[in-house]
Point group: C2
Chain length 219, copies 2
């Protein structure tokens, strides 16, 4: 295919990401991005439909970094609680340098119609990959979970991680220590809930919950 424009595209993305991290999303203008990339303003719109679209690059890189950062704990740890905590901690570790940027991002990511929404079709690859990580969390732990429930459990853990990220975005404590504390105190609870979910007396409620997830899935 055309290699011609690929370099321009890459230059634009690189300039954008660097400027975003350095000055934030709002403060970085399309004119400056184009200027840094050595092209005209309008040319950026030939490769990216909008400023928001530039963020997809950020998403893709972060997803890959997160997957890599998870490897150690996924390969070595066998206890469910530490596995959950490890994967979510890795996510926050990866996001850490972008704390301010991520907060501004949230505005765009939260809009349902936005392609940046974690629930959008455009985010499907990143979402699937992230949920897959939590599938590994469950699969590699010494815990008995019915095979039919694994997928939905992974989705629930992904929702849990979204909640942690939401907390992190609001967290102004030094080094975001409050977020790490929250992870360390909630991951064991999540693990315990998962282990308890199939004991008699709770099993029916668990089944009910999983059924709701099937029923509530939006197209």
């Amino acid at each position: 295919m055309s290699t011609r424009g690929e370099q321009t595209r890459a230059a634009i993305a690189e300039a954008a990401l660097r400027l975003f991290r350095e000055y934030g999303y709002e403060a970085t203008t399309m004119r400056v991005i184009a200027g840094e990339a050595g092209v005209a303003t309008g040319n950026a719109y030939y490769y990216y439909g909008s400023k928001e679209e530039l963020i997809q690059e950020f998403y893709a890189r972060n997803q890959a970094e997160h997957a890599a950062a998870c490897r150690p704990v996924l390969d070595k740890e066998t206890r469910l609680g530490p596995r959950i905590a490890g994967v979510v901690r890795a996510l926050i570790d990866v996001l850490a340098p972008y704390h301010g940027f991520a907060a501004q991002l949230y505005r765009h990511a939260a809009e349902p119609a936005s392609p940046l929404s974690p629930f959008s079709a455009e985010s499907s690859p990143a979402r699937t990959a992230a949920i897959g990580l939590f599938g590994e969390v469950i699969g590699g732990a010494r815990v008995r979970v019915p095979a039919s429930a694994r997928g939905k459990l992974a989705e629930l853990l992904w929702l849990y991680s979204l909640g942690i990220v939401l907390y992190w975005v609001h967290d102004a404590s030094p080094g975001c220590r409050a977020t790490y504390r929250l992870i360390d105190s909630t991951a064991p609870i999540a693990a315990r809930l998962i282990r308890l979910a199939w004991v008699p007396g709770l099993r029916s409620m668990t089944r009910q919950l999983l059924a709701v997830m099937d029923d509530a899935r939006l197209p």
Copy 2:
């Protein structure tokens, strides 16, 4: 105090809310709002610091409407599950005419720094009122909950309602039936969880969770 500008302020707010509901948030420009209110563009900024600030009026009215819509179920129903469902259903009922508008709003409400965030200091009155409604949900139900846990339980139910609203915003089914179905299927689960929370074997986990909520509260 100065009654002089009060009428202008009211005229601007009124025009803005009408146009927002009719044409949506993005499509309504400050120039048109000012024009409809019969003032110059810049004058709108004398009364409202930004376009976003105009939305606070929308919030205030909705909170009042929701509280009123809850009265019947809060006064008559005594079972916990139906009380929860009733209050959350009332919320969706009140929001229903603004489905499209609310979706656009979400973008601004989700940004942590935004005064429109449900977690922001500026939203504190509306948030406190909403949590208070869920306090009533628990207080008026025939269910034994330790007094010390009521406040936090109300907060959890409020978070649950935020989750429902998030789902509703994404819900494109006719009449948002999917959202109502979700409420009807999850409210009983929530009620059952609350009743089970203090049985032996789960009590310690509940205490752990409530302790986390104290620890994790952001300033």
